[in-house]
């Protein structure tokens, strides 16, 4: 799974939470909680969905690394990469 595939999954899951936002137009380095107006419950649902779809373990301590679109993609890519070796 390359970065583009990961980005697609992340965008799909964010879209489930904030269907009215066009994710192509958001700042990929901006704080998703602000940009998408998501609360802690939405964010937990996002983490849960990523966990189920990609099998990535995301401890709560790592949440700050996933608060931007770019950050989330990089984090998941790194996790998937390290789990292959």
């Amino acid at each position: 799974m390359n970065d583009l595939d990961i980005r697609k999954v992340v965008q799909e899951e964010l879209n489930n939470i904030a269907p009215e936002v066009d994710l192509a137009t958001i700042d990929p380095a901006g704080d998703l909680r602000e940009t998408l107006d998501i609360d802690s419950m939405d964010f937990l649902n996002f983490i849960t969905a990523i966990h189920h779809r990609l099998g990535v373990e995301i401890p709560e301590l790592d949440y700050p690394k996933l608060v931007t679109l770019d950050g989330a993609v990089a984090y998941i890519a790194a996790k998937l990469g390290s789990s292959k070796t």
Partner: protein
């Protein structure tokens, strides 16, 4: 336009944004009466079961909020109290609990807040129940109305039943289910009328304090603001602590500030011992 019985009726319709052409008149010559407008608003407040799939109509929801809040401000003599609570114990407890849990089973601080408010409501019955026909009817169970914001505007507070009785894990699971169903428009109308007290929370963004408006015929609403880091004195020394402002808006026909302050302080005390929640 259909004839309207009197000026009071027209004012109500105007204030609530009711389109009079959609109201059925019950007057002798088909005029619209005050009660007709109220009934029309009432339908928006409690949509019938058959409308379930489509009830997430934001205009109807806005009308329902307008009707309920206008009635509240008209009828309920609110008094307001606030209390700052150190929630570091909750945060540390959650960090420890969640460290070993998969995302499905993780807890949010909002669950602890609801549980604490529900337990306090059981111990202080003057804040849990309904004011109807000129008298207060305490409720035998604590059904916490959880205020849930709808994206793109709108707010509902369906019941988390027996919130004081269930475990924190059960409460969290039900809260997740409630939020999901609410946002999908799959809430039963009974769930909207069941709450005996409302709990509302601003979440992690926004501001520190909110003063809720009581949802009639309930008699109290507890509000949690955003958690902030503040200098705090503990054992004679100043240190940074996570602090949340908890507020109570209560019905002065039923309780007084003295009881309200004890109720609010009890919520703060309960939040110091998350393991007991």
């Amino acid at each position: 336009m259909k004839p309207v019985l009197d000026e009071m009726c027209r004012n109500l319709a105007e204030a609530q944004g009711v389109d009079l052409s959609t109201v059925t008149g019950s007057g002798s010559a088909g005029e619209i009466t005050y009660a007709d407008v109220e009934r029309h608003l009432g339908e928006a407040v409690a949509p019938p079961e058959r409308k379930r799939a489509t009830w997430l109509d934001l205009d109807a929801m806005r009308a329902a909020i307008a009707a309920a809040m206008a009635r509240s401000k008209r009828e309920i003599p609110h008094y307001y109290l606030e209390h700052q609570v150190d929630v570091m114990a909750c945060e540390q407890w959650l960090t420890q609990k969640n460290a070993t849990r998969p995302p499905d089973n993780r807890l949010l601080i909002g669950a602890l807040a609801i549980k604490a408010a529900a337990l306090a409501a059981r111990r202080f019955p003057a804040f849990n129940g309904f004011y109807r026909d000129g008298k207060f009817e305490p409720a035998s169970a604590v059904h916490a109305g959880v205020a849930i914001a709808i994206r793109s505007g709108g707010l509902v507070a369906p019941a988390l039943h027996e919130a004081d009785q269930i475990s924190i894990d059960e409460l969290m699971a039900r809260m997740r289910d409630l939020v999901q169903r609410t946002r999908a428009g799959r809430i039963r109308s009974s769930e909207l009328s069941d709450p005996t007290i409302t709990v509302t929370s601003l979440g992690e963004r926004g501001v520190e304090t909110l003063y809720g408006i009581i949802y009639p015929p309930q008699v109290a609403i507890v509000g949690f603001g955003k958690i902030v880091t503040r200098p705090w004195v503990i054992d004679g020394a100043i240190g940074p602590r996570s602090v949340v402002t908890v507020t109570l808006s209560a019905d002065h026909r039923v309780s007084d500030g003295h009881a309200g302050s004890l109720f609010l302080a009890e919520i703060g005390r309960l939040l110091q011992e998350p393991d007991e929640l």
